[in-house]
Amino acid sequence: MADATLEHDAVHHGIPGAYEAPLFGAYSKKVGMWLFLASDSLTFGALLFAFSYNRISNPAWPTPFGKESIANATIMTACLLSSSLTMVLAVFAAQRHDRAWIRNWLLATMGFGTAFIVLHAMEWSKLIGEGMTPFSNPWAASVPQFGGTFFTLTGMHMLHVTIGVIYLGVVALRKWFLPILAALWIAGYFLIPADNVFHYGIHALGVGLIVAAVVLFLKPKDYDAHDVEVSGLYWHFVDLVWMFIFPLVYLMSTKIV
């Protein structure tokens, strides 16, 4: 918006050279998102580095992930990769101003993302049911950091995916997304058993609902192709991080019988 204002002033007051083309040949929203992603990649990079260091330096590192876990994680990977493809198709739809297909492809992306979260939550519940906590695990008493590193890394990523789904929902449906998010939050709270960690973790949707409502009511706007593209950058980043987490966390700890 500021760029358009500057250009308007320069053109109408005849000030040549007062408006300069953007340094990176991209609008400021896109550059801002790239800078944020660069910083977030360092966060995950540090966590992955610490995890890899722990993994390699511990010969007793537990390997609890059997066929079911690896199959589940592979399906989760396929879900995220497919969601990236549908996100690209949403950007193409935005490019040709096809509102219906922008919404459809964004909803497809959200669907794959939600499937990822549900499968991951089921994996977490299974591991917690087997006795894994952030401070201990039943497979290697001499490696208590296994649980902490696993839950931190995958939990951070799951949070990013959840935020991404809410972000895409806001771009795709705007204010219509708020009642849907509220319904998911309430349904999740009542349907998830009280002894499951996600019975309380579902409140993340409540926080997302409040933030989305503040954004949508304080700054109502029609989300255009730029917004779709910028949300796509965030979504692809979430997929990118999983491309490192899946092999380092799951494939490096497969249970070979």
């Binding site: 991209a26 260091y53 950007v91």
Partner: protein
């Protein structure tokens, strides 16, 4: 809207990239299951495959391949530099731990 993904991009190449990513994922799973390498070499191989996948995602899906050279170089060089700094910081200690061996 000229700086959003341009019409020159063909949809077909994105499906090929998606297929390649799925194929590389399958290769990783097979390598892990067959335990082809020991832990250190397995980590190296999986990291290399992950970097290849990330290059495909960043280049095509995130469209960085079609951005200006300045943006490409600035983003990639800064992030790669930071990761190299992390590696150099850990490398001597990581090597020492491996040679000591935890019994």
């Amino acid at each position: 809207m000229h700086d959003v993904a341009s019409h020159e991009d063909r949809k077909g190449q994105y499906f090929w990239v998606w297929g390649a990513l799925l194929f590389l994922t399958a290769v990783e799973v097979i390598l892990a299951y067959r335990q082809v390498f020991n832990a250190v070499h397995m980590l190296e191989v999986l990291l290399i495959l992950s970097v290849i996948k990330s290059v495909l995602i960043i280049g095509y899906f995130m469209h960085l391949k079609f951005e200006t050279a300045l943006m490409r170089w600035l983003l990639m060089a800064s992030v790669v530099f930071c990761f190299c700094m992390m590696y150099l910081f850990f490398f001597p200690d990581a090597g020492r731990i491996l040679h000591l061996g935890v019994k």
